[in-house]
């Protein structure tokens, strides 16, 4: 039981760690690009959201596993 709880916490925290680093890097670069060339702001923003969505999916996978583990624990 305790190990399942630990696993749920680790699943979401490790996934969140990786996703956070990735989003920070890509978001920072996107802002840099917009600051350097404000006229491409719209394109960069669209691409940035697509990138965020891809990164976030991996974090959501971790969250999903955590929910499944918690569900298993309470059942």
């Amino acid at each position: 039981m305790g190990l399942i709880a630990l696993g749920a916490g680790l699943a979401v925290s490790i996934a969140g760690l990786g996703g956070g680093i990735g989003m920070g890097v890509s978001g920072g670069k996107a802002i840099e690009a917009i600051a350097r060339q404000p006229e491409v702001g719209g394109d960069v923003r669209t691409l940035m959201f697509i990138t965020f969505a891809f990164i976030e999916t991996l974090t959501i996978y971790g969250l999903l596993i955590a929910f499944m583990l918690v569900g298993k624990m309470t059942a």
């Binding site: 669209t46 959201f49 697509i50 965020f52 969505a53 891809f54 976030e56 999916t57 959501i60 996978y61 969250l63 999903l64 929910f67 499944m68 569900g71």
Partner: protein
């Protein structure tokens, strides 16, 4: 049911059980339909009020998809579908934020359930391949074996992971957000959850936009001439 909060089946339509999610979706369809009907009931050449707003949305989405997909006729063909995705997901995400909604059985946002997001992603899946075949005919099959036949398993896997990731992204975001608000409400009933609810207004819109943009880019990749 692992991921559902309730399992309330109201009545059965033939073999299909009709539960609260389906009823909520019917309500959303009716609301969107009513707004659209009111906007187009008395159309004028020089629009004003609601018609003006709707024309702005339509022009904006057409321009946006044309820019995203590079080819205007494809964007024109799929813009109604994609705009509908956007409106439907937006209304679904917001349906959980109506005050008191958490206490009414049946006002769980439909997108916080697997089954709804799987259906939405499957519509995208069908649209992608329909677009590919109608644009390239049998040549479309060639892109599964490009750049070489050894890539066939990977390409097929990619076609499966696209709808899977669309499903899980939308479902995970909305369900996670609902769960967090529920936990916060349980721990601190007043004032504190409102901060997160404000955030979830933004998240709901972003998720709707992301689903639409990703669907558009999958369709654009399947219909583009470059493969």
């Amino acid at each position: 049911m692992i991921f559902g909060m309730w399992d309330a089946v109201f009545f059965k339509l033939g073999p299909i059980p009709v539960d609260h999610l389906i009823v909520t979706q019917w309500a959303i369809i009716v609301v969107i339909g009513l707004i659209a009907f009111c906007a187009t009931r008395d159309m004028k050449l020089v629009p004003s009020g609601l018609q003006n707003g709707f024309e702005m949305i339509i022009t904006w989405t057409y321009d946006f998809f044309t820019q995203l997909m590079d080819e205007e006729h494809i964007a024109k063909k799929f813009a109604p579908l994609l705009s509908t995705f956007f409106l439907f997901i937006l209304f679904s995400n917001y349906s959980g934020l109506i005050p008191g909604a958490a206490h009414i059985q049946g006002f769980q946002p439909p997108t916080s359930n697997w089954n709804v997001t799987v259906a939405l992603a499957l519509v995208t899946f069908c649209a992608v391949h329909f677009g590919g075949f109608s644009e390239h005919g049998a040549h479309y099959l060639k892109h599964f074996v490009s750049p070489s036949a050894a890539m066939l398993p990977l390409n097929l896997l990619e076609e499966i992971t696209h709808p899977l990731s669309l499903t899980v992204r939308l479902f995970g975001n909305i369900f996670g957000e609902e769960m967090i608000i529920a936990y916060l409400l349980f721990m601190a009933p007043f004032l504190i959850p409102t901060a997160l609810m404000g955030l979830s207004v933004m998240l709901g819109a972003i998720q709707a936009i992301v689903f639409t943009i990703l669907s558009a880019s999958y369709i654009a990749a399947a219909t583009s001439a470059g493969h």
